[in-house]
């Protein structure tokens, strides 16, 4: 790890951002999507990022997920400064440190559940035998041990999302980053997925969920609300046990 670089970061910080901004040129004007975000998320936190559309939460998620780089400001992911990295290195960071869970699952339609879960390991250079073993393990964690050879179109929506969660977990990333993970699911299946997130959190994973649904956000332990590209509130949430 490159923790020797300053500023020194406490090892339990998975995310630290300082003055993070992101603006997009739009014709002759510039849209300031993020106007200076300071955020620290520690290991094994369960955080929801909320905000109305246009508040900048997608932009923040892309930056946290290393899919994009900030216009200015600093970002340390698991102690590594990543704000200035090139695409090549960002790809590697995404591979090792981040597990994405998407609203639309984003599974490869022609590949079996097992192959889909193997995908990050392929790019991580893990040898085939170990890959299969680890992918199968991840699928067991999400209770899909008996669906490994099914293709996405042979699975229900909830099962698909669980495959995508297994794919996110399989590299044992520092951060599980979920973007509206229940947006395409009915309420019963949503509840099941949220129970799975609780379980993963209890197992020690750090989870960030981006959502605009209040009841999903309330499953987390901390809700960060964005407004016009700034953090408007950041408070711990005592989560109720009832769904």
């Amino acid at each position: 790890m490159t923790s020797s670089r300053e500023p020194a970061v406490a090892t339990d910080e998975v995310i630290r951002t300082a003055g993070l901004t992101r603006s997009f040129p739009m014709g002759s004007t510039t849209v300031h999507a993020l106007r200076g975000i300071d955020l620290v998320i520690r290991r094994n936190e369960y955080v929801a990022i909320m905000g109305p559309s246009g508040s900048g939460k997608s932009t923040l998620m892309n930056l946290i997920g290393c899919l994009d780089t900030p216009t200015s400001g600093e970002y340390w992911l698991d102690g590594q400064p990543v704000a200035q990295l090139q695409e090549q290195d960002l790809a590697q960071i995404r591979n090792r440190e981040i597990g994405f869970v998407f609203q639309t699952f984003n599974l490869l339609p022609r590949a079996s559940a097992l192959r889909n879960v193997e995908l990050p390991l392929i790019y991580g250079g893990v040898p085939p035998a170990e890959r299969k073993h680890r992918a199968a393990e991840a699928l067991e964690q999400v209770d899909l041990a008996d669906r490994m050879d099914h293709r996405p179109n042979e699975l229900s929506g909830g099962q698909r999302q669980r495959v995508s969660i297994a794919r996110a977990l399989v590299t044992r990333p520092a951060l599980l980053l979920a973007d509206e993970p229940t947006g395409n699911l009915d309420s019963k299946t949503s509840a099941e997925i949220m129970v799975l997130f609780d379980r993963l959190h209890a197992a020690g994973n750090t989870i960030v969920v981006v959502t605009h649904e209040r009841d999903i956000a309330e499953r987390s332990h901390r809700i960060v609300t964005l407004h016009d590209g700034m953090v408007s509130s950041d408070e711990p949430h005592r989560r109720s046990r009832q769904p």
């Binding site: 892309n62 590697q92 995404r94 994405f100 984003n106 790019y123 991580g124 794919r167």
Partner: protein
């Protein structure tokens, strides 16, 4: 990501779109099949020419009035300038060139052959001196060839090509039988072994008679082709120079004048032939090259379509850690595989076609052994050349945009 993994992905993708893949490949398939079929025909012709057409042996050349003429201008020039070659020329060579071990000659006439109620029109009747046998051996099927005694006596005898014998003497032993050659009754003394046909032309449709008899029957004015065998194979060039000197002196040419005859060697025939086939080959390659370029463009097109269709997949791959190089590799391997698959099908078609040509047509097509390797190389180049742009486009997609696409 390693190559095995990329190859597997590419095969999966090609197989998933098999009809489209096949249609995409038609250009390459046709191109490669056409290249190799053309090459097979030319390869076959070349082998045939090397083995059979230039049956001039080592150290042998012929002196002819016209020689190997490849254009009209040359031909008109030669008709104006070149004198007929006569037996006196041949005898002068015999007498004055120690470098020439054997000198023989032949002249030709077109005649009708007749036996009982059977007739063959327009057959080549060669008048030869028997020494020609020492230069261009004829394989004997039955009877005997013409001998010096026949020539000395201008004996009324005739030697037959296999076709003539088959057609005029079906189920009959022709030896000792009579045959009317250009109205003259001659006795058959021998029949040659069948040589087969070349480009659909029979090489067995001829008769040979003694030169003296030929003169008597068809006139003394015909130009002869003089065949010369050098005393020493290795010193054929010297023999040719000596023969040239004798003929130039006899024809009263001044030093500045060009030869008014021409000399043909086996090499000369082969050279002319390979110049001819090279031209054919070049033209064919150009035409076929166009179809390969079109094939390549079609591959590029389908790869671009594929990149658009799989934008989201590319986004997912990038999100889980694929680097640009991984994406380039994946798409490049796919286009190369696609192209090579087309090449392989093309090679198979060409193999079938050249075999069929050789069996069912007079073209002596022969499948060249280098064809698969060369096709593989060409197709790899096509795949890389036309695949690199789509692959780079895929690799440069912004993952955020790609994930958002429908």
């Amino acid at each position: 990501m390693n190559v095995v993994e990329s190859t597997r992905l590419a095969l999966e993708s090609i197989w998933a779109n098999r009809l489209r893949s096949f249609l995409t490949l038609l250009g390459v398939i046709i191109g490669i099949a056409a290249i190799i079929a053309t090459a097979a025909v030319i390869h076959g012709l070349n082998r045939y020419v090397a083995e059979k057409l230039s049956n001039l042996g080592k150290g042998v050349f012929t002196v002819q009035r016209f020689g190997l003429i490849t254009n009209r201008q040359q031909f008109l020039e030669a008709i104006r300038r070149n004198r007929r070659l006569l037996p006196a020329d041949a005898r002068a060579i015999e007498a004055r060139c120690p470098e020439a071990e054997v000198v023989a000659w032949e002249t030709h006439a077109t005649v009708d052959l007749k036996r009982l109620d059977q007739e063959i029109r327009d057959t080549d009747c060669g008048g030869i001196t028997p020494a020609i046998l020492e230069i261009e051996p004829y394989d004997l099927d039955q009877g005997r060839f013409l001998v010096p005694g026949d020539e000395d006596r201008a004996a009324p005898v005739v030697f037959l090509g296999a076709d003539v014998a088959e057609r005029l003497f079906p189920n009959v032993d022709p030896i000792g039988k009579d045959l009317r050659v250009g109205g003259q009754q001659l006795e058959v003394v021998g029949v040659a072994v069948k040589k087969g046909s070349f480009l659909g032309f029979s090489q067995d449709n001829y008769v040979k008679i003694p030169y003296g008899l030929h003169r008597k029957l068809f006139g003394t004015g015909r130009s002869i082709n003089i065949s010369v065998k050098a005393a020493d194979d290795a010193r054929m060039a010297e023999a040719m120079d000596a023969v040239r000197a004798v003929l130039r002196a006899r024809h009263h040419l001044r030093p500045a004048d060009e030869d008014d005859f021409s000399m043909v060697t086996a090499e000369g025939i082969n050279d002319l032939w390979s110049r001819l086939t090279q031209t054919i080959f070049t033209v064919a390659m150009f035409v076929v090259g166009i179809s390969l370029v079109v094939g390549g463009i079609v591959i590029m097109n389908i790869m671009l379509v594929s990149v658009v269709e799989r934008t989201r997949e590319i986004g997912v791959r990038k999100a889980v850690g694929a680097r640009q190089g991984d994406i380039v590799q994946q798409f490049l391997i796919e286009s190369v595989l696609l192209s090579c698959l087309g090449g392989a099908i093309g090679v198979l078609i060409a193999f079938a076609a050249s075999t069929a040509l050789a069996v069912h047509t007079p073209l002596p097509a022969s499948f060249p052994a280098w064809a698969p390797a060369v096709s593989f190389l060409i197709c790899t180049l096509i795949g890389v050349f036309f695949g690199i742009y789509p692959a780079l486009r895929a690799a440069r997609l912004d993952p955020i945009e790609a994930l958002r696409s429908e």
